[in-house]
């Protein structure tokens, strides 16, 4: 996977987590995986369609999610399944949305779909041309995982180029 596709997600996650959680983050483990994704806590998946195709998963444990929810609300929040799921979806929406903004402004044309809860314990295997990059952001409130699997959609790019030439 090309670094130019990944870097905006790292920058976005770093900036959004710092702003939302009022703390600095550190990138911990980074690995490339071709095996199916194994969920660690509550996960949200965002699908990407266009010149670039793939999906990004944001994954955090419920306690970290409640801390994020409290920070977003500016007041303590009681732990419930709904709040945890909503928090993870909203955080994914912000992190991935900001990264997508950077990539689109650099000339990559694609769309994101609304975040969806990733409830299966396993799923979303990589393939030969779509390895997944798994990154762990260490925060004082707990670890937050970002799993990115994307590839250039060659056919779509060729179609766009043909239209531009015509």
């Amino acid at each position: 996977m090309k670094m130019e596709l990944i870097q905006p997600f790292i920058n976005s996650a770093d900036a959004i987590l710092a702003q939302v959680m009022h703390c600095s983050t550190k990138i911990g483990d980074v690995s490339m995986e071709q095996e199916a994704y194994r969920r660690k806590g509550t996960a949200s998946v965002v699908a990407i369609h266009g010149d670039i195709e793939g999906r990004v998963i944001l994954d955090l444990d419920p306690k970290t999610a409640i801390h994020v929810a409290s920070q977003l609300c500016g007041a303590p929040v009681e732990e419930s399944e709904d709040i945890v799921r909503e928090t993870v979806n909203e955080l994914a929406n912000m992190v991935i949305g900001n990264a997508v903004t950077l990539l689109n402004n650099e000339g990559h044309h694609f769309k994101v779909l609304p975040p969806e809860a990733h409830v299966e314990a396993q799923g979303f295997a990589g393939s030969d041309d779509t390895e997944a990059l798994v990154m762990c952001f260490e925060t004082p409130s707990g670890d937050i995982y970002l799993n990115i699997a994307m590839r250039y959609n060659r056919r779509r790019k060729e179609e766009r180029a043909a239209v531009e030439i015509a």
């Binding site: 702003q19 500016g74 912000m94 949305g97």
Partner: protein, 151 residues
């Protein structure tokens, strides 16, 4: 959260009424809280573009805070449909996806402004003031018995 001078409608001195449109309940709650801090009033909520149109017609709010990426009908299409019926609608797009093409499309369909998530209350407040323009004014300060003026 900081304190903000409450804005009221110049014509009848009533609080500014907001319609909040976002598929995330969490995001709606967060925006509603900001509206409360700004001294505004929640006129209605919607979780998708279709409901936003119905709610706009029902509540006729002063300001709409509209997400872009939503199920069923996206925010930009909802803006187009609302503005077609209500040319004076004041719609502020609130989205984490803020690339130029998206912002331009929203503005071309009739949105007045754009704010990127995560929303900073001070930024949203200034944008609301700007979009309301001369139709809003600061609420008069309330004087307490001790003679202290407070917002």
């Amino acid at each position: 959260m900081d304190q903000y001078v409450p804005l009221i409608r110049k014509k009848d001195k009533q609080p500014i009424r907001f319609l909040v449109v976002d598929d995330s309940i969490f995001a709606r709650k967060n925006l509603t809280k900001m509206i409360d801090v700004f001294g505004g009033e929640l006129a209605g909520e919607a979780g998708d573009g279709c409901t936003a149109i119905t709610e706009y017609n029902r509540t006729l709010p002063d300001i709409v805070l509209m997400d872009i990426t939503m199920p069923q009908m996206e925010g930009i299409e909802a803006v187009e449909r609302i503005v077609r019926q209500h040319a004076d609608a004041r719609i502020i797009m609130v989205s984490s996806v803020g690339y130029q093409e998206n912002i331009l499309a929203a503005l071309q369909k009739g949105a007045k402004h754009f704010v990127q998530k995560p929303v900073r209350p001070d930024v949203l407040y200034e944008i609301i003031r700007y979009v309301l323009g001369d139709d809003a004014e600061a609420a008069p300060a309330v004087t307490t018995l001790a003679g202290e003026a407070r917002l």
